[in-house]
């Protein structure tokens, strides 16, 4: 029996309403319905919390509040009454404040009926069938009130495999700001208490929006489903407003889905080739290993594979990258605005994150191309908590070479393998342990007896711990080694082995602290230990006359620390300020050669040597590396960004060839070789058009580098104990403009134009230490104009086509301009350094991919890619050289690929 009473008064605190209905033994939900129908109140609660609650008896004159108090207290529940008549049933102490607009929710309100287990303090939302929008999730971590706001943190994973989703956008729509998930899929968002609409968005996944009511800090883990027609191919992740809103400039992030669709030589596309299509990243030529980023030399790029540096990034003379594309989850390239946690190289950071493995089920996938085979195995160790992944690549090129009958290939062989292993384990209380290992090995012999053999190996161990909701700490230990060997055994009298090795050992700790929504503070310390063996020559066999020669090894330590803050000054202005302080100690044992003052550093001017004991400090260097970035939002579609950074480099690549060659090696800064340092200023304008499906940007930059390394003519770099007599240092100046237009959708891809100039000046005190008489000259990798276009079009669900087009100005070259006779021999005299250019480079590639039947539960899913590299067959000149023989000098041009290369690749997945 209910008595109806017309409510009086306006909306106010609901709990003061006098409930005139009499109830007896009414289940809570019935009670709620009746009260809501009659009075201006709305209830929010979890039905399974209240399923046992019965309103035993009401008198008809009690306030709602008192009824609730009595009914709830035995069940450990409380209620909270809001301003506009809302009544919230909670299991913790009532929240003291609510945001004023908490009632402005959209969509139906319901409880968490479909959710998984929800523990207080943690909320998990798993697969939502059909929509998922508008369900309200209460976040009540129970940590009490924080005057600065609360944090919503959690983990975003793929629904099917449990792989963390890197770079997913977690966006608070009502506040118009968001964050992206990190390499472990974790995010942390500062929010005021109240109701917010949080959107989780990632490429190729169904977008989910949740209405979240923040009562206190808490954790929300989300799983995102794959979109069935997910876009495959390479796309730059920049949904929505990333291009415009993110603070980072000079940075490109690429998520690699199925890169097998892009056209390539030998049917294997890799992320380094993709990187070359980005503006500001150039290579010196076909099959040349090494990159030049914004005018930097090839030794100025830091490649990180799960935090471990990779010293030789390619297999097979630059045609394949050393990184297995199947293993890559995500990759970021920083060209400017480099965050303070990175250091050690001047020009760029390529940060590659590898997959962690499917946490839900086992999977086997792989591929076959004309020259290589790939296999990948992954799966859970403990379901949902840990996973492993093993990926390997190998070649059968030796066999292919054996099928070709050409004298120039006789006695040639080339092979490589690589292996990646990773284990990732979640620990109790938001910890995570990760161990990842990498090994690659190359062996080749070029039509001669000399065998080149090199290997990269690395192990990284990382432990992450999230404390409360505002602090994330991590500790990593990393070991990386690169070694190569050149050997020749055909002539027993001259049989030798020449080895070269670099070891990098690092321990670092990083801390991220999110005190409030305005600041993201990061702090870290690190120590790197280096050991380099620049050259060890040994005789092989008993009859060999080769004298053993051991170039003294080098040791050094690079301690550093950094601190940075991303400060949200207002909704328009985001400022990043960071300082990295790095230092370097060059340690003994070491014999330092001394040279006469006032004379050039030449062997004949050597006055003596000084020996330093083991671990004695021979020389020390240090420097501050400020990093500043600023983003100013002009409106929601455009922004201006500025950055300044300074980088220091203590480890240098010694190479006087244009491309990275097997005989290149690394050297530490020493009393004669000072550290390189570089300052870069960049300014950019970013604009999103056509409702965010078209992103455009223009960036301008200016770079100044000092203590760059140049070489005296005909410098002897291998096994030179007096290397300082062949090195000269100079300075560099680079500037340029990069335009980029990216499109998403069925036709996707990007087009870029960059104008880059880089000049070196080598003006020492003595003529032997000057190049070009001390005047600036274009560096060897100065290629002013570059155009890159890549596009992918989905003709149908099963068929897509891709194309690449690239054009660049020819690189500079020094020609012999005159000749003279010496003892009846013609010798050549060369022009001013890099005064001329080789012909321009132009290449067009095409590919088409056919996907297997997309039935979801087939045993094997496969796809086939047909690719034509260099469709026009253009003879792109790689180098021009001159030979004098028997009194005649002739010029020759050499190109590496002078005809179209067709290949077919098959990829499968179990």
């Amino acid at each position: 029996m209910f008595l109806l009473t017309i409510p009086v008064g306006s909306l106010g605190q609901g709990d003061t309403i006098e409930v005139e209905i009499k109830f007896r033994d009414a289940p809570f939900e019935d009670f709620v319905r009746s009260v809501e129908a009659r009075y201006p109140v709305r209830f929010f609660y979890k039905s399974n919390w209240v399923s046992n609650i019965v309103i035993t008896e009401t008198t008809g004159q009690q306030t709602l509040g008192s009824i609730l108090e009595r009914a709830l207290e035995d069940h450990g529940l409380f209620y909270h009454a809001g301003e506009s008549g809302s009544i919230i049933i909670t299991s913790r102490e009532p929240v003291l404040s609510l945001s004023a607009d908490f009632l402005s929710t959209e969509g139906e309100l319901s409880d968490l009926a479909n959710g998984g287990e929800v523990r207080p303090g943690e909320t998990s939302v798993s697969e939502f069938q059909g929509g998922g929008n508008g369900q309200v999730i209460h976040i009540n971590g129970g940590d009490g009130v924080d005057a600065y706001g609360f944090t919503l943190a959690g983990n975003v994973r793929e629904a099917a495999s449990g792989e963390p989703v890197i770079g997913a956008v977690v966006y608070a729509e009502d506040l118009d700001r968001g964050v992206i998930t990190d390499v472990n899929g974790n995010y942390l968002l500062n929010l005021e208490p109240g109701i917010h609409r949080i959107i989780f968005r990632s490429l190729g996944k169904k977008e989910h929006a949740f209405t979240v009511h923040i009562h206190s800090s808490g954790i929300l883990n989300v799983e995102l489903e794959e979109k069935i027609n997910s876009l495959k191919g390479v796309e730059i992740v920049a949904e929505g407003t990333r291009n415009v809103t993110r603070l980072q400039m000079g940075m490109d992030r690429i998520e690699l889905r199925a890169i097998s669709e892009m056209p390539s030589a030998f049917g294997e596309m890799d992320l380094l080739k993709i990187a070359q299509l980005l503006p500001g990243v150039q290579s010196v030529g076909e099959g040349a290993s090494g990159f030049n980023v914004r005018g930097g030399s090839t030794g100025q790029n830091l490649f990180l594979l799960n935090g471990a540096p990779l010293f030789n990034t390619s297999h097979f003379f630059g045609f394949f990258s050393a990184i297995n594309p199947d293993m890559v989850s995500d990759f970021s390239l920083y060209k400017s605005g480099i965050p303070a946690r990175y250091g050690g190289r001047l020009s760029s950071v390529f940060d590659v994150a590898l997959k962690t493995g499917n946490r839900k089920e086992y999977g086997l996938s792989g591929g076959v191309s004309p020259v290589t085979g790939r296999l990948l195995l992954e799966g859970p160790i403990v379901k949902e908590r840990s996973s492993f992944i093993i990926g390997s690549r190998f070649t059968y090129s030796d066999w292919v070479l054996g099928q070709i009958n050409a004298p120039s290939l006789r006695n040639s062989s080339a092979a490589f393998q690589d292996l990646n292993v990773r284990i990732n384990q979640d620990l109790k209380k938001n910890g995570n342990l990760d161990i990842s290992a990498y090994y690659s090995h190359d062996r080749f012999r070029l039509n001669s007896d000399t065998l080149y053999d090199y290997a990269n190996g690395s192990v990284s161990f990382s432990y992450k711990q999230q404390f409360r909701d505002k602090l994330v700490t991590s500790f990593s230990a990393i070991f990386s080694q690169y070694r190569y060997r050149i050997s020749s055994r055909e002539e027993p009298l001259f049989a030798f082995e020449l080895d070269n090795r670099i070891i990098h050992g690092e321990a670092r700790s990083d801390l991220a602290w999110y005190p409030n929504k305005a600041h993201k503070v990061k702090f870290g310390v690190g120590l790197v230990y280096y050991r380099l063996d620049p050259g060890t020559l040994q005789a092989v066999g008993e009859t060999s006359l080769v004298a053993d020669h051991y170039v003294e090894h080098e040791k050094g330590m690079e301690p550093s620390f950094y601190i940075s803050d991303e400060f949200r000054i207002s909704n328009r202005i985001l400022l990043y300020g960071g300082l990295r302080v790095s230092s370097f100690l060059y340690l003994g044992p070491r014999t330092v050669h001394l040279y006469a003052e006032g004379l050039p550093i030449e062997p004949e001017n050597m006055t003596g040597t000084k020996f330093y004991e083991p671990n004695e400090i021979v020389s020390s260097y240090w420097g501050p590396e400020p990093r500043i970035s600023l983003r100013y939002l002009l409106d929601s579609y455009s922004s201006l960004k500025f950055s300044y950074n300074r980088m220091m480099q203590y480890l240098h690549m010694i190479s006087n060839t244009t491309a990275v060659s097997p005989t290149d090696y690394w050297k530490l800064s020493d009393p004669y070789l000072k550290p390189q340092s570089g300052d870069q200023f960049a300014l950019g304008y970013y604009l999103d058009l056509l409702g965010n499906s078209l992103e455009t940007s223009v960036e301008l930059y200016y770079k100044r580098m000092v203590q760059i390394i140049e070489y005296k003519g005909g410098a002897r770099l291998v096994l030179n104990d007096l290397l300082e007599t062949d090195l000269i240092n100079g300075s560099g100046r680079a500037y340029g403009l990069e335009l980029l237009v990216r499109k998403k959708g069925r036709l996707n891809g990007w087009a870029s134009y960059s104008y880059t100039r880089i000049f070196h000046t080598v003006n020492g005190s003595f003529p032997s230490e000057r190049i070009n008489n001390g005047e600036p000259y274009p560096a060897n990798h100065d290629k002013p104009h570059e155009v890159s276009i890549t596009g992918n079009y989905k003709i149908s669900r099963r068929f897509s086509v891709s194309t690449n087009f690239t054009y660049s100005t020819g690189r500079p070259i020094t020609y012999p301009v005159s000749r003279f006779m010496q003892r009846d021999i013609i010798l050549l005299q060369y022009s001013f350094r890099n005064e001329y250019r080789i012909p321009d480079y132009l290449r067009w590639d095409l590919s088409a991919t056919l996907f297997g039947n997309l039935k979801s539960h087939k045993l094997i899913n496969g796809d086939l890619t047909l690719s034509v590299y260099n469709v026009t067959g253009r003879d792109n000149v790689y180098s021009i050289y001159f030979r004098s023989h028997e009194g005649v000098t002739k010029g020759y041009s050499m190109s590496v690929i002078s005809q179209p290369v067709v290949s077919l690749t098959y990829n499968f997945r179990l």
Binding site: A265, S408, N447, Y815, R823, Q829, G887, T889
Partner: protein, 384 residues
């Protein structure tokens, strides 16, 4: 499927070999006109030559001599020796007053006709060990074109210094060979048998610096191709060996890297190579070339064609020669042939018939057109 493999292989081939190499004709505008000095002091009997020239364009065959300069050599005892200009730009020592001595150091001084002055480093005239052996071995080489070969004799050099002091060596050679013309004119026997010479035009250097002993073993000095008439009758090679200082060797090594290697993915970047001559007026001026001093040791080898296997056919190099042997020709016949370009060789009487011989090229019967009929004094006497 095989074509796919072939494609892959071709692309691999492209990368691994020197793939596509084509002639290239750069468009070079101008060049700096620099002084080039080429001087060598030896302990031999011949006058020592210092050649001064100015650089010429890279595809130009002429070099521009620097004439009218004052060229003087100083030894480490302070004695001054002046050189006289013979041919333009070529300054020679006077053998009567100057012979290089082992153990002495020499410095070059130059004053050009325009007054600019130059001097070189002191170069030590080092003792040079003798050449131990020169060996001639038949070799068949595969050429770039699959299935094609060349036959020839590879000459290997062995030398060494038991005292391990020399370490750096340079060589040059002179070849001489005997040849005959296809047609012997009895009246002109002296035009039948001649000799031809050539000298080396490329850098030949070697070092034992990476070995435990100072030895040069089987240095491939020169390959004599059996595709020319060098190996038809008798061939001789005179090899000269020099001992270089580390600095001079360095100069040659850098020049070799620049001028004679190239065409791989890893070519070094060309750059100016300093010599050892400096301008006294302008320290920044680049002077090309090297002033060197060294002892010389020589060795000669003779190569008999019997070193070649019988199947190897050495050409005469006169395959273009054609002959007309006319018996009792009429004047009209002869005039007609002569006016068509044939050349009269000789005529003789053979059993009461007049035989007239004509040929298409004078070198077919006159070996002095392509060689010299003065027999070199080192040439052995033999009956052929």
């Amino acid at each position: 499927m095989k074509w796919l493999l072939h494609m892959a292989g071709l692309a691999l081939l492209g990368m691994l070999s020197r793939s596509c190499i084509e002639p290239y004709y750069p468009d070079i505008e101008d060049y700096e006109n620099l002084l080039a000095v080429d001087g060598l002091i030896t302990d031999g009997q011949d006058p020592c030559l210092v050649r001064l020239s100015r650089t010429s364009s890279y595809d130009d065959f002429q070099s521009v001599p620097e004439t009218g300069a004052v060229v003087v050599i100083l030894d480490d005892l302070g004695t001054v020796f002046s050189l006289e200009e013979g041919l333009p730009g070529q300054y020679l020592t006077d053998p009567a007053s100057f012979t290089g001595e082992q153990g002495r150091s020499y410095q070059l001084h130059i004053v050009l006709s325009d007054g600019s002055a130059y001097e070189s480093d002191y170069m030590l005239l080092r003792e040079v060990p003798p050449i131990d052996t020169l060996e001639a071995r038949y070799e068949r080489r595969e050429l770039a074109e699959p299935g094609s070969y060349s036959d020839g004799i590879q000459i290997y050099l062995n030398t060494g210094d038991p005292s391990n002091l020399t370490r750096y060596y340079r060589w040059d050679w002179e070849e001489t060979w005997e040849f005959t013309v296809p047609m012997q004119a009895p009246e002109k026997a002296e035009l039948f048998r001649c000799w031809k010479s050539g000298s080396s035009r490329s850098i030949m250097i070697g070092t034992s610096e990476q070995l435990t002993e100072d030895r040069i073993i089987d240095y491939p000095l020169h390959y004599v191709d059996a595709g020319s008439n060098r190996l038809r009758i008798l061939y001789s090679l005179l090899v000269r060996q020099y001992a270089e200082s580390p600095a001079a060797y360095d100069f040659w090594k850098r020049q070799e890297d620049m001028s004679e290697r190239g065409g791989t993915l890893f070519d070094p970047i060309p750059a100016a190579i300093p010599g050892n001559i400096y301008s006294l007026s302008d320290p920044d001026e680049i002077v090309l070339g090297l002033f060197d001093a060294s002892g010389v040791s020589t060795r000669r080898i003779f190569i008999d064609p019997q070193v070649l296997p019988p199947r190897v056919d050495v050409p005469t190099d006169f395959e273009f020669c054609r002959f007309q042997v006319l018996q009792d020709p009429s004047a009209t016949d002869i005039n007609y042939l002569l006016s068509s370009g044939w050349i009269y060789v000789d005529e003789y009487n053979d059993m009461n018939h007049l035989v007239v011989r004509l040929t298409n090229q004078p070198s077919c019967f006159d070996c002095t057109r392509t060689g010299t009929n003065a027999k070199p004094e080192f040439w052995p006497d033999y009956e052929k």
